[in-house]
Amino acid sequence: MQNWPFWIAGMALGAFVPLFAWTSGKLLGISSGYAEACALHKPAGSERWKLWFALGLPLGGLAATLARGEGEVASTSAALVEHFHVGNAGQYLLLALGGLLVGYGSRTAGGCTSGHSIVGIALGAKSSLVATIGFMLGGFAATWLLIALAGARA
């Protein structure tokens, strides 16, 4: 199986949101699953399902890889190396620092690309639209800064 065209993938992801709400009564989100992982020492509250949901994601990634007939293990993010001209150490630094900002930022904003950009905007939430504009501005800024730095070193 090949990857899907954008509109099939988008419609499937979009349809998943109300279907999940219809079966579970909940609005999906991922970054709060990380917050639940950080709260494992506390008794499980009403949000513990978010951790279970997040733990399912790797299984889905594995299934998609098998469906595409791939399955090789990769330790290098080729895109970062190619676009930003970083070595191995630089690559892992970008991934870890980027992850740190993603974790801090999503919990400050109260959501990530799934909970805000897809679910929240679909609900018509102003907070989610503003958050998503922030996501995009930050993403463009970081990407073009890295490209400029790569150019300056070349």
Partner: protein
């Protein structure tokens, strides 16, 4: 729903993220370089489809299949959304990954998702430690 049902639901979502190439760092860098607009199309059509589905849910009384009420209240607006949004975006650009796709990447055999996931956990932990002092509402959903 039981934990296993949530894990299965997460697996479906992870599968869809992967088939959408949202787990492909090249697609994310390409989106921000405007050389590969695929993910803009994915996000746009996902929002439109989700909005349609949510409207249908509301019309039918916002009840689950078993008749329970679905909480469809949007997240309240507060100024932290702006700051947090930009910080998230900077991290999204640096790592070419977001919280869901990092986890799906791990299942795809992309071991470089490990420093990303570690970073996200650390950032989440730091935010929760600082949140009361920074007077930022520790938001609960996603």
């Amino acid at each position: 729903m039981k934990p296993l049902a949530f894990i299965a639901s997460g697996a479906v979502f992870g599968f869809l993220l992967s088939m959408a190439r949202a787990t492909d760092a090249a697609a994310i860098v390409g989106m921000f370089r405007l050389t590969d607009l695929h993910l803009f199309g994915v996000i746009g059509s996902a929002i439109a489809t989700a909005a349609l589905g949510i409207a249908l849910l509301k019309r039918s009384g916002a009840r689950t299949a078993s008749g329970e009420a679905i909480a469809l209240a949007p997240k309240p607006y507060h100024r932290a959304v702006v700051v947090g949004g930009v910080i998230f975006g900077l991290g999204w650009g640096l790592s070419a990954t977001c919280p869901g796709t990092a986890l799906a990447q791990l299942g795809e055999g992309k071991l470089y998702a490990l420093p990303t996931i570690g970073g996200i956990l650390l950032g989440t932990w730091i935010q929760q430690r600082l949140a009361p002092r920074a007077a930022v509402a520790p938001a609960r959903s996603c």
